[in-house]
């Protein structure tokens, strides 16, 4: 195979220092893979010239699927023929990113044979990313992946691979089973995931509590965040233990509570749960003393995304509270009403968040048959430009629509 590595004086600088070096990784792979060897070379050239050497897109894929492969070609194939093609394969990760080594090793074996040997564990959306192969390898890779129980992820205008925090598997705060839900949704929407038919991409992310350890509020078209409706559980003795151990309950907890709903007199911690915002701070600081309530479930938010085109969005509340029990029928129904509407009325490359910005939240709720709730707004409108839909007709006494 590739015996001698190219000279990479600039990249070599990035093998120094304590943090794991991606350059060393590519060099390891390059020992075996001509593609990774050329990747080293072309990257060194980018570092010299301060510009990337990858051409724009190109549609490649596996039979019957529309997503899952990102086509990539370099713009200097004469110099780096082994990365003339350098496609990426996205693979659905198991919920929570748990693995047994045998499964991982099987993936490595496929990738040793049919790709560059370079991966991302994982991509930003959450997929296993197999980085760099050529068009002729796609079908064989797909066949071998499915044979070991893995399938492709999304790309293009489809459902993207859902992801979740580790939830109930290891976290005491999980208000619902994020891994179960994530797996269920991923399986249930395989068709929508593999065959792009939407105006644009659609991402689900599942976090077990408002700490939101998968950043769902910032980067999911639907963010499903665990929470509770009843009271925070308090172990007063354990609060006292924290205090004795040096936690300044007033300064570090009471004064930082955004709802200003706590009181600590040195003996008793009181929480006004009617105004508690379920922010998690007090629980985070004293995990042995405080726990979320028992009437748990999730709130659902919709529409976050990166800035392109109309500016970045955070997800906003669409279902203030819902119990999370399989088969999640109520959520599936909601999702399908939303997709139907969006497919009918959404513009090309208009994410659901932008669609709602365009048609208005009030109208959107009407179209998807959801009742408005005060939890859906930070505050009611400030401008007086109200579209009154009810009024009296001459001679009438009752308001009509």
């Amino acid at each position: 195979m590739a015996d001698e590595l190219p000279k990479t004086p600039m990249l070599d600088e990035l093998e120094k220092g304590p943090w794991p070096s991606f350059v060393s990784e590519i060099k390891m792979a390059a020992k075996r893979s001509p593609a990774s060897k050329d990747l080293l070379g072309i990257l060194e050239r980018s570092y010299q010239e301060k510009i990337g050497h990858w051409k724009h897109g190109g549609i490649v894929g596996v039979l019957g699927y529309g997503g899952g492969v990102i086509g990539r070609y370099c713009d200097v194939p004469q110099d780096f023929p082994n990365v003339a093609h350098f496609h990426t394969i996205r693979v659905n990760q198991p919920a929570g990113w748990y693995y047994k080594t045998d499964a991982l090793r099987k993936i490595c074996d496929i990738w040793e044979k049919r790709g560059s040997g370079m991966t991302n564990m994982h991509g930003s959306t959450g997929d296993i990313i197999l980085l760099g192969t050529s068009t002729d390898q796609l079908e064989p890779i797909f066949e071998e992946l499915t044979a070991i129980g893995f399938d492709l992820g999304g790309s293009g205008s489809d459902v993207r691979t859902p992801s979740c925090c580790l939830g109930k598997s290891r976290c005491e705060w999980a208000c619902y089973d994020t891994m179960a839900a994530c797996h269920d949704f991923t399986k249930n929407y395989q068709d929508e995931l593999h065959r792009p038919a939407f105006p644009y991409k659609f991402k689900f992310k599942f976090s077990g509590c408002p700490n939101d350890c998968v950043a769902s509020v910032a980067r999911a078209d639907m963010s499903i965040i665990g929470t509770w409706r009843d009271n925070i559980r308090i172990d007063q003795k354990a609060v006292g233990d924290y205090a004795s151990a040096g936690v300044d309950v007033t300064k570090e907890i009471v004064n930082l509570c955004p709802a200003k709903c706590m009181d600590w007199d040195g003996k008793m911690l009181k929480i006004d749960n009617s105004t508690c915002r379920r922010c998690m701070h007090c629980i985070n600081v004293m995990p042995k003393a405080l726990r979320p309530g028992k009437d748990t479930g999730a709130c659902i938010l919709i529409g976050s995304k990166a800035p392109i085109v109309e500016g970045a969005l955070l997800s906003s509340v669409i279902v203030p509270f819902i119990k999370m029990e399989p088969p999640y029928q109520e959520i599936r129904d909601l999702v399908e009403r939303i997709w139907d509407l969006w497919c009918d009325e959404g513009k090309n490359r208009e994410r659901i968040g932008e669609f709602i910005q365009r048609v208005g939240l009030g109208n959107f709720l009407e179209m998807i048959e959801v009742e408005p709730a005060a939890q859906m707004v930070a505050h009611p409108r400030e401008n007086p430009y109200v579209f009154y839909e009810e009024y009296f007709e001459e001679g009438e006494e009752e308001a009509e629509n």
Binding site: W19, S46, G57, R170, C171, P258, A306
Partner: protein, 360 residues
Amino acid sequence: MADAPKKRTTDIGPPHYEQFLPPAIKKNYGQWKYHEILRAGVMKHVAENGDAVYTVRAGGSRLMSIDKIRMICDLADKYADGHLRFTSRHNIEFMFTDEKKIDTLIADLKKIGHPVGGTGPSITSIVHTQGWVHCHSAATDASGIVKSVMDAVIGHFENMDLPAKCRIALACCLNMCGAVHCSDIAILGIHRRPPKINHDLLHKTCEIPNVVSACPTAAIKPTTVNGKPSVTVDEERCMFCANCYTVCPSMTLNNPLNDGVSIWIGGKVSNARHEPMFSKLAIPYIENNPPRWPEVVEAVVNIIDVWKNNARKYERIGEWIERIGWPNFFKLSGIEFGKMHIDDFKHAGLTFKRSAQLTY
């Protein structure tokens, strides 16, 4: 695409996670009571029944060779019955019930070059994107800056010595593949010149109406050049977002002389204390300076130092600045405030200071 042939296996989705759960995790699934962070990168989770599971978190490199994955599998086999997981920020976690394994595992990880840390009030791995390694759109490299910054701040990865968590992210262009827009510190690749249009190719490679509507500032208009349908860009209106390039390969933004990075700060995602916030512009432009981008590293280190020295416990960067006010942040950090910091997009008016609550 044509229909798949009948006998191919399709739409099976991912393997069920349950088969991958470490035994103690599976047993206590949903039965966790509390946790403690024993030291940076090492946690203990205790179940209602008293069972304890230890987690060791190693910094991930994300861009990983199969060779490294195999080494890590070896460690998982040795210490954790062949189980491991990756975190939502691409770190690697090993879980087991025998506390005594912690130190040797950490030593073994060090041997293959992976430090342990990233828990609690610390810096954890930088979430990042492809950069010059794989993407056509990149205005800077991703992995090179990330490596350089992490080398400089590794003390805050290996020690929980910060006021609160500090989440750093990098995206190599405005598409922002990641939660860059909601990070404590975001490093963002940027262009500074309008697209160069290939008028000969454009009509073959791009749908002109799509291109026109892709522009957030309506800078693109259809036109005809040398008898071929094409577009023109009003350079006064262009703010270099590259969205036109995303839909049209014949409009390149990449420009080695002018591309570089900007630094954004004060975003967050969790609901703890303050609601989620977007990051805000701190430094509009730093030149690309590979291989180690020293100016970027210095800028990030400076922001972290100023924050560390001035913030109160539990104050993330955005919460700290909200308390002291942005004028104080600019003063303390020595960063210069200028026209580019003033918003001029859709909701700009709401970012003006609409009160007399001022600091000097």
